[in-house]
Amino acid sequence: MNKRTFGERKNKVVEHVAKLRTGIEGLDFLGNGGFPKGRTTLCVGSSGSGKTVLGVEYIWRGMEGFDEAGVFVTFEEKPERIIKNVKSFGWDLDKKIAEGKLTILDMAPSIMSSDTLVGAYDFTVLIERIKYAIKKVKAKRVVIDSINAFFTQVGATDKVRKVIFDFVDSLNSLGVTTLITAERTEEYGPISKYGVEEFVSDNVVIVRLVLEEERIRRTIQILKFRGSTHKQGEYPFTITNDGIIILPLAGMKLSAPSSTVRIASGTKELDKMCGGGFFKDSVILVSGPTGTGKTLITTLFTEAACKAGEKVILFAYEESREQLMRNAASWGVNLKKWQNKGLLRIFCEYPEVMGSEDHLITIKKEIEAFKPRRIAIDSLSAMERVLTLKSFREFVLNLTSYIKQREVAALCTSTTKTLLGGESVTEAHISTLTDAILILRYVEMHGEMRRGLTVIKMRGSWHEKEIREYIIDGKGLHIEEPFKGVESIMTGAARSVTQYEEEELKKLTKLQ
């Protein structure tokens, strides 16, 4: 058997292969347009990895989105079971069958078990049945799920291989775009159990179900599309009520429009520090240790949107609705009023309740439904708690790219681990993606804990470089004068600078 090694690189063939849009969210992005048209793609994955759902959705999207009829060949589950199982996604296969758009072929080899076997036989009839079904509904898409059942029940591996080879051959000649699923036993290892990839290896898609730090993580990877391009690597996906959603990491056109329109931060002094306010489609990160007023800044930002008549969603991952309302009231902000006016939506959920993909999809759904001009996330670090570093990075990347495409202003908070100075994982992963970064720090001066705020980044705009002292009271946030005569504030251990030194420094900066 001529086994191919996993990492083998093929020379790039310069050939144009037309693509068939699958209609599955994110998959067409990975496939640079879809599956290679008129060809067969093998989808391998372990048990429970989502192969059958992918297969059914591929057929369903074709019928729903592109008016392309389909044939679903099942070697494993009974048609009735498949129909029943996908009802939860809202896919009414019975209706499509009645409309003549779909045929489900029951080819479960178990039927054969009651038959007597006498002498030589072959499986060419299966191809005839598939051909017949394709002609009957004028199918453009075919799914064969899954060929393993055939191998295990029929046993004669060589014979079955030949059948599959013939399948692929005749399906390709019929001009249909086929998806064949096959089961594998390991997540990383040989592509499939029976070496079928040798026959249908032109295009291989792998779905994985990995347990990572006690959390389930689904990924999808296009291993190869011969003669055609596709995105490389593993991409996380999730199975939602609407089917499969793949989250292309860099989903991510960098063509996100940018605006010069400013929006109010909710604090006049802060607007001044940023050169007139945040940009209306920017991502703002507020970073600081616990108790420095991140939630306050979030609240003010939210209120400012409402005051301007803009819709806003507040995603709270650390506090309950009641806590938020009470806190806001203590700063003189009435969130309830804005909520009743329909301008504010508060979404409270502990991050532990779902996986990162689900969080992201929830956020997206909320945004699609409410259509806010601004969102606030308090806090991103809460996510850090429940995600692996890798998933967190993907989460942040995805979120920011989505926000940018929607032209929504987003303010995210991040909690630093140490009281004085320091940085958090959030900062490290999000900083390059953000347009503005506000740093809040405790400053130890003369035996007192004071608070300092500075804008360290404001993309596309002038911003103040000084570190300002601020005070929080019953009326909110008050930004005072810059700290004078001290240095090393950001590291937390402020040190007085003598008058002489200060003047020397001034001279130096003037020279530059």
Binding site: D106, M107, V118, G119, A120, Y121, T124, V125, E128
Partner: protein, 98 residues
């Protein structure tokens, strides 16, 4: 084997043989079956040979997975035999006659 293997008199056997065109397996199955029928079922059988390439809908209705396939439609219950029917005893056994 000295066992009585004659089909019961007065009974009528309705058989269908599904084949795929003129493939070697199909041709062999037809030859083998006709021989068995003339030896054991003279005058009491009705055979229909169905080419599933010409009549794929019939293969679909019967959910046929492999050919050649012999189906005993009558008497009930339905019995199915897959293969080129090269062993007479096994065929008779499969037809529930032996």
């Amino acid at each position: 084997m000295a066992k009585e293997r004659k089909a019961k008199p007065g009974r009528k056997y309705v058989l269908k043989l599904y084949v795929t065109g003129q493939t070697p397996n199909s041709v062999r199955a037809i030859t083998n079956l006709k021989k068995i029928l003339s030896e054991e079922f003279k005058g009491i059988y009705e055979l229909r040979v169905i080419d599933v390439i010409k009549n794929p809908q019939l293969a679909e209705e019967e959910k046929i997975l492999a050919t050649p396939m012999l189906s005993r439609v009558l008497p009930l219950p339905i019995k199915r035999i897959i293969g080129d029917l090269s062993e007479k005893d096994k065929v008779l056994l499969g037809l529930d006659i032996l």
